[in-house]
């Protein structure tokens, strides 16, 4: 009974601690970000001297720095891009062993630290791509198990390739870090300050951890970070918004691996010893726990997770043999009482670039700086934009679309209608590149687009919305629209990492444009831009999805049931909006069941039934067409025959 008391006491303590954590976080959030950051940096820089250069405490703090690097890198792969990588520790091993090979008596090579660092980081990144490439098609848990296999393979190779790696004994007497003639293994003196070796390595680890955090946070806020999150939330929708899925996944693997490689080099130089024992699956598990514990995807959370999980076993040291059991139990309890992580999963707050009243002035700036998109070169009305000829698609024996042909001209609104199962959405999937046609041709501006992937089509100016709303649920309203801008934004990796002025300019114009788009759609969407998209009403989400599609600057807009789930007032407003879009120069192909909308705004209507086109013409003509009436209501005579029989 007494033991039970202790356990329940622990529960209340944990709950109290977690609510205290919540309050702490609120207080923390209230302080201006810059002061917060400054305070943390100052504290971290002064730490060794605050504890009187206590070697034990400084070593623990330096270890935290190493884990921050590792966790930030894994967070890019898992938290940002949503790829479950259980083989992550292999890249850490590759970094560490590269340094050990090139800077130790093992092969008699003694290259300088600063020369090995980029080599090792590159080696890890290349391995990241080599692992990433074959597993690109795999999802979720399949990916997890294959990457885990990769991690184990590297570890087993390290153990068994004894002539190269010295097997289980590892490589010792590795050179310490010697940076531009300063040997970190020696006591350094700066005037009256003396800095022990462990303190030197603490600073090395701190500088690189801070660098990793900075790079990761810049990536996170850039078009690349948004593209990763979009892939994480919905791969298909991300592709249709112009995101090159495979390249971005490989980039995530490579960036994560690069961070781990850097951490490996610092680890090897600091410990001056590497062995396969360090690079086990348990290590990946620990790093995973850090990410989840802090709150996935949140960089500050990753730091908190690293601090907690490195220090927790140290605090438990006095319980020596019980500590791992307690550690396991604490993990379970934290997840049970704070499943969103210690810091919660709030979207990382971005300093508002614009206040609400600045929107209008910025909208003007957008006009002058308009990001190039297909709409920049207007076409004469009536030019054939999309020509579908004899298009068919079968799934096994099911012929979903059979020999459908029609043309959409610049400046038209064409509606596709038909009963359920007529093949309307399949047709959209064919045009937007999600399916490959079984036969037939699709031409856009006279060029065949059959076989082009969705992201290429988005770049060419064909963009779609989805019947069942495919917004990126983990992102804010503004971020969703910004994803639409992905293929119109320039800014390579280097300009993002260096935060160049041209990158900052494009980013602020992109934001202004996205806000202007939201503003144009009304309903206070521009004011709600920093809310998570899932907090919006259904009708508002439809509007955001259209804003996202418009952001990519399309010529041809494919709208799949844009008023589904809306009430009649909302539907009418949407109908007017679609009419305005046509007046603004967009060409629209839409699927809709809402007949008032279809008949009210369409220039032409294409009717599908059981995969075939059964009629095409003006709304009035189609409404009177015998075959259309039959498709919707059934044949009069056969119905009669049934009832009399």
């Amino acid at each position: 009974m007494e033991r039970l008391g202790i356990i329940s006491n622990n529960f209340t303590t944990l709950e109290a601690a977690s609510s205290a954590m919540g309050r702490l976080r609120a207080a923390f959030d209230a302080i201006d970000q810059r002061y917060r950051l400054g305070a943390v940096v100052l504290l971290a820089a002064a730490f060794p001297f605050l504890v009187g250069q206590n070697p034990y405490l400084v070593r623990v703090a330096g270890t935290i720095g190493l884990y921050v690097m590792l966790a930030v890198g894994l967070n890019i792969v898992v938290g940002f891009a949503g790829l479950l990588d259980l083989g992550y520790v292999a890249f850490y091993a590759i970094g560490a062993y590269t340094y050990a090979f090139l800077a130790s008596p093992h092969f008699g090579l003694h290259l300088p630290f600063l020369a090995v660092l980029p080599l090792a980081a590159l080696a890890a990144a290349v391995c990241g791509v080599l692992l990433g490439y074959p597993v690109l098609r795999l999802r979720g848990d399949y990916l997890a198990i294959v990457t885990m296999g990769f991690g184990e393979i590297i570890r087993i190779l390290l153990i068994n390739l004894a002539p190269i790696t010295n097997g289980p004994n590892g490589i010792s007497k590795i050179d310490g870090a010697n940076i531009l003639g300063v040997n970190l293994n020696q006591v350094l003196e700066f005037g009256f300050l003396r800095s022990e070796s462990v303190v030197n390595y603490y600073y090395l680890s701190l500088v690189f951890a801070a660098g990793c955090l900075l790079v990761a946070s810049r990536l996170n806020r850039s078009r690349i970070g948004r593209a990763w999150q979009a892939i994480r939330d919905d791969e298909t929708a991300a592709q249709c918004m112009g995101i090159h899925k495979s390249n971005l996944k490989l980039l995530a693997f490579a960036s994560g691996a690069l961070f781990a490689g850097v951490a490996g080099v610092i680890f090897a130089a600091w410990q001056q010893f590497v062995s396969p024992e360090t690079f086990t699956l348990n290590e990946v598990v620990t790093i995973f726990c850090m990410i989840v514990l802090g709150g996935t995807g949140r960089l500050l959370g990753v730091v908190v997770g690293a601090v907690v999980l490195v220090t927790l076993p140290e605090f438990l040291r006095e319980y020596s043999i019980y500590r791992m059991a307690i550690y396991g139990a604490v993990l379970v309890l934290i997840m049970r009482y704070r499943p969103q992580g210690l810091l919660g999963k709030a979207a990382e707050r971005v300093r508002p670039v614009l206040a609400g009243d600045q929107v209008a002035t910025l909208a003007e700036r957008v006009e002058s700086h308009c990001l190039p998109g297909p709409l920049a070169q207007p076409l004469p009305a009536g030019t054939p934009l999309l020509e579908v000829a004899d298009l068919s698609k079968s799934f096994g024996g099911l012929k979903a679309v059979q020999g459908v042909s029609f043309t959409v001209r610049q400046g038209e609104i064409v509606s596709i209608i038909g009963p359920n199962g007529a093949g309307k959405t399949t047709l959209f999937n064919l045009i937007s590149g999600l399916y490959r046609p079984s036969s037939g041709s699709i031409r856009y501006l006279g060029r065949s687009i059959v076989g082009l992937p969705p992201h290429r089509l988005a770049a060419l100016g064909i963009v779609r919305t989805f019947q069942n709303l495919r917004l990126f649920g983990g992102m804010t309203v503004l971020e969703n629209v910004l994803v639409g801008l992905h293929c119109r934004l320039e800014g390579g990796l280097l300009s993002i990492v260096l935060n160049t002025s041209s990158f900052r300019r494009t980013e602020s114009i992109a934001r202004a444009k996205a806000i202007a788009l939201l503003d144009a759609l009304g309903h206070g969407l521009a004011e709600r831009r920093d809310d998570l998209v899932l907090t919006l009403t259904y009708a508002d989400r439809r509007r955001v999805e259209i804003a996202r599609a418009l952001a990519s600057g399309p010529r041809l807009l494919l709208l799949d049931e844009p008023v589904a789930g809306m009430n009649s007032a909302e539907a009418e407003e949407m109908m007017n909006r679609i009419g305005h879009l046509r007046d603004a120069g967009y060409t629209i192909l839409l699927i809709e069941h809402h007949m008032n909308v279809v008949m009210g705004i369409s220039d032409r209507v294409v009717v599908l039934d059981q995969g075939r086109k059964i009629a095409e013409g003006t709304p009035e003509a189609v409404q009177k067409d015998e075959r259309v009436i039959e498709a919707y209501l059934g044949r009069r005579r056969s119905k009669w025959a049934k009832t009399t029989a």
Binding site: D141, G149, C289, A325, V332
Partner: protein, 311 residues
């Protein structure tokens, strides 16, 4: 290696691989069923298997004094299996209740970490309670060495016969349970669509508990069988075997019961043939290489269905 010698070894290695594959299969089914119902990796499943092995040892330590069993060997065996299966089943259900159920609505990673926590906790608790050294299984006292079948060069020991035989019986029983009973139908319904199933009056929580129960019962039996096979159990065995079994269920197409069985047998065979003909040190590499090759060629596993993405 001499090719003739190698060929002569082939049938024996085949039997070894089959034995190992059967144990993996019993364990893989647990991963597979839990994945089918909850889409989560139950990292603690290997630990349930390990606890099953220890429970079997507990029965031995009570019923076998010295080298001779206090009761008929067959009876000892049955008591061991039943104890391990009941104990492991209860443990599995308890883990789900305490560590997974409260997390069902949170992100995918939260239950994963919780499962890792359970795994670390169980491993270390067993180590603290039972000591760091493994516990010996007096296999010879339970299954006499005379119970061995020989076909030319191939010998199948009684233990192997028991493992293969019992695994096949349990797999058939499971198949009947899942396909032929109303409980199994409920489980399949919850696996397909939990929400819809609960509208139709199926208690989803009960079915999830049942899934954990069935999976853990099989793991408990596997724990005893592996103890008999290697003549010892230790607190670390759950992790390695669990990873193998999970690999096997992915190989077969995760969530697919027959796929898990097939994947496990294939993995067992690949491992033992690889160890014999290439190098024991690289058997894990070979196993993973086969897995990667299969998944790259067929991303949904050997028996998984390639479902088109729903748009």
């Amino acid at each position: 290696m001499d090719i003739n010698l190698a060929l002569a070894q082939l049938p024996q290695q085949f039997v070894n691989g089959l034995t190992l594959g059967c144990v993996y299969a019993l364990l893989a089914l647990g991963y597979c069923m839990v994945y089918g119902v909850l889409e989560m990796l139950n990292f603690a499943h290997g630990e349930v298997f390990m606890v099953g092995g220890y429970l079997g040892w507990g029965v031995i330590s009570v019923l076998i004094v010295g080298a001779a069993p206090a009761a008929a060997p067959l009876l000892v065996l049955v008591v061991m299996l039943v104890t391990a299966m009941v104990g492991a089943g209860a443990l599995g259900v308890g883990i789900e209740r305490f560590a997974y159920r409260p997390l069902r609505s949170s992100s995918r990673l939260a239950p994963l970490i919780s499962a890792l926590g359970v795994s670390i906790f169980l491993q270390n608790t067993v180590m603290l309670a039972m000591g760091t050294r493994g516990k010996m299984y007096p296999t010879r006292a339970i299954i006499p060495p005379e119970w061995t079948l020989s076909f030319g060069d191939v010998t199948i020991t009684g233990t192997r016969l028991l493992i293969i035989g019992l695994s096949i019986i349990l797999m058939f029983a499971l198949n009947y349970f899942v396909q032929g009973t109303r409980w199994g139908r409920g489980m399949r319904a919850v696996a397909q669509d939990r929400e819809e199933a609960s509208y139709l009056g199926i208690d989803a929580n009960k079915m999830i508990s049942l899934t954990f129960l069935v999976g853990s019962v099989l793991a408990g039996a596997a724990g005893v069988l592996i103890g008999l096979y290697y003549t010892q159990v230790d607190f670390l065995m759950g992790w390695a075997a669990g990873m193998k079994a999970f690999t096997a269920s992915v190989l077969g197409g995760i969530g697919n019961i027959q796929g898990a069985m097939l994947g496990a047998i294939v993995l067992g065979l690949v491992e033992s043939l690889g160890a014999a003909f290439i190098s024991p040190a690289y058997k894990d590499i070979i196993a993973f290489a086969v897995l990667v090759a299969v998944l790259v060629l067929k991303p949904s596993g050997l028996m998984g269905e390639n479902l088109p993405d729903k748009v």
